[in-house]
Amino acid sequence: MMNELRGRLFSEGCRVSLRLAAFCFLLLSVTGCGGGRGGASGPSAMDSTLVITSLGDADYLNPVIGATVTSSNIFGLIYPSLLQSSFDTTTGLLNYEALEKRLRKATGASKKPEAALARSWTFSPDHRTLTYRIRSDAFWDDGMPIVAEDFRFSYMLYGNPIIASPRQQYLAELVGAENGAVDFQRAITAPDDTTLVFRFHKPVPEYLALFHTSLTPLPAHYWKDVEPEEFRQSSLNQNPLGAGPYRLKSWKQQQELVLESSARCNLPKPGNIPMISFRVVPDYTVRLAQLQTGAVDVVENIKPQDFEGLQRAAAPVEIKTVGLRVYDYVGWSNIDRDEYRKSGRIQPHPLFGSAKVRRALTMAIDRQSIMDGYLKEYGELCSSDISPSLKWAYNNTIVPYAFNARKASDMLREEGWVPGPDGILQKAGRKFSFSLYTNAGNERRNYASVIIQQNLRAVGILCRLEVQESNVFFENLQSRRLDAWMAGWSIGLEIDPMDVWGSDLETSRFNFTGYRNPDLDHLCMLAKKKMDPLEAKPYWLEYQELLHRDQPVTFLYWIRETQGFNGRIQGEELNISGVFYNIDDWTLRPSATLAP
């Protein structure tokens, strides 16, 4: 009886289990069917695949509208470029290179820029006309030649307001732009397949003309039938036709995008690594764990406290850094923001309106301790927004204000701030008390803000810490609703600071502090007028002295961003212009024999 019951229970259990297994299999198959177009790769696929993790997916694989960093990294490998650019680490200047011509003489050993589509260029003496000669041996992946008309067509897309390209700023000097819309008939002409002419409405420095005319082209024959209204929704965005060292193999959105080496590429050659996979892994801890196990090869922005763990990882991991492009700062509202918002009148801020007070605040903050505690050797004291990596313009005579709480207190007393009965500084009945805002989710800034709070309390300043969701924080910053905040900037490789420090607060969109200094405006204007950037050097040196003196913000530290690389990667050359700068030259150690 018992055995019979057991048997029945067992057989019933088996039937249920089988049904369950079948159901699970069905479910798995349903979710698996949405996969990409990846073909058979075999169990050793990892040997010939470089795996790069990213925080988010690419938005568009289209250089006209792609806006995310991941998109730029990917379409940079798919599409060709008119010129190659390289960052000269000895001078800190960007160089532009065509096949047979360079803007500046290369300082070190340099390879022939064979990826450039331009053979050469000529720039008119009046700095208003730039003529490219394009090579005739370059082809799109479908075999069609790359011609000058492709560039003209692409620039019309970049300039079309319906398409709303985030790169339309590059067209600002072209003929017609001074009246609000580029006159493409006159501004860009393609007299024949290998000649491309750009015309500017004002004299433009040569480096800027090259920078702004080397936007990535799209194949005109492939895109010509897509209406501007449909451009962002076109299915061609998921099937890019390029000419670069890689082409799209498969794209499972929000999961993985796989590029394969493009065998027919001659710009300059097919990528060495057969496949590159960009995997979306939003969580930092998981990215780090995968780097340690060797499941992924490249993880960007590793936190300094994780270096030790990585050294003990099962997979060999190397930490690499690029130049200094990112800095953190504490922003002080220089103007009375309430008064400005209400009446448009500009009055000094009751707490931070005086440059002397701001200097005292900088001296009261122990920036070195923040760096020692968090960034260690991956930080450098910051005195202005010109990076030490831009050696040609960097003012190395400026000595950063040292931490000196006593001197800070003295300076504050000279400005009328004296301790009240509760130990908090007071002036005319107003306490030196404010909220310091920062955005949520940034561990480094959280760490720094706690030290800043303690440092300021030591000189009698009450600072409350407030963390806001990033969107809210940015909106408050933009509408100048904050008295004090902590944020960061990532700088461009060309110096153009008027958006951040320009005295016209209506047009200077990122002048959140309300800093105004006509001398600084004048210096920037003089520097921008120089056709050779090196001639503008004296202005930029003085510019940094002004910023150091006025301390519109407390510049904290430059951050040396750190990237984790699996030891099997070889041939990588990291550069301030990008982590994946020469990725088509990289090789994977186990796959060296597989590489084409």
Binding site: F25, P43, V286, T293, F510
Partner: protein, 321 residues
Amino acid sequence: MLTYIFKRLLIAVPLIFGVLTLTFFIIRLAPGDPAAFFIQPGISPNVAMQIREQYGLNEALPVQYLKWLMNVLQGDFGRSFSRAQQPVIDVIAGALPITVTIAVLTLIANFMLGIIIGVVSAVRQNSFLDRFMTVGALFFYSMPEFWFALMMIILFALKIPIFPASGLNEIGAEGFGPFGFAMDRLWHLVLPVTVLSINGAAGIARYVRGSMLEVIRQDYIRTARAKGLPERVVIMRHALRNALLPVITLMGSSLPFIFSGALFIEVIFAFPGMGRVTVEAIFARDYPLIIANTFISGTLIVFGNLLADVLYAVVDPRIKL
């Protein structure tokens, strides 16, 4: 019962519609701008304006609402702001099967584990095993799931690397064949489903234990034992069947919880499911996608509750709807 279900469905329509209307206005009142991404140095200020124009955000709020209403009534939830202007229905169609897979596997694991632990605890009441399981269940029940997930990854993907830490499949899984691909997918689902189900199972175990303890003290259980039925049959057939009545209703109401649990599980394990879509849509202020996600989760909650009520009536003849 059919009339009851029909009535509930009729009430659900204005309810869900009301939720969507509220969501429409609340997200637009929240600070943040869908075009904020384009406000940065080096990008012309025109771009943010052009993008807002494309999204129809420059129109007055009532006009935006009327346009949205007309589109929704025609089944068009619009195009996503943050995902390359894909129709939001396509975005959801890609994400929903992944979340449903996790949810169904979790539901199965939840109930199987919960029932087993609950029954053993009740049958061996006050024994060491019962106390151990009770403490264990409370321990897991009170543990934050995101932390538990990270600990599981560190333990089983890093220290003892037997499970993958993220993703739905291995690199080159397409080459494993259909069976190998499915097994690989299953392998990738072990950690997330374990994390989601252990927490839920602990709760269900408490329910089952309480319910079983109540049932095994009933007269009919004593009768079953008195007539000489083996203990296994008494417990499995007579006691468990009746003890499961209140537990079955949990099935309907636990669906929304599993979906909300999937929010962080999908972010941590890098699954492109509904949870990640929702989180990313909120951070990007992707209004059409947020509303469509609210529609899906609102519908799930309404139908989950309806399912719970109907299941109760189906399994317990004393309940009349």
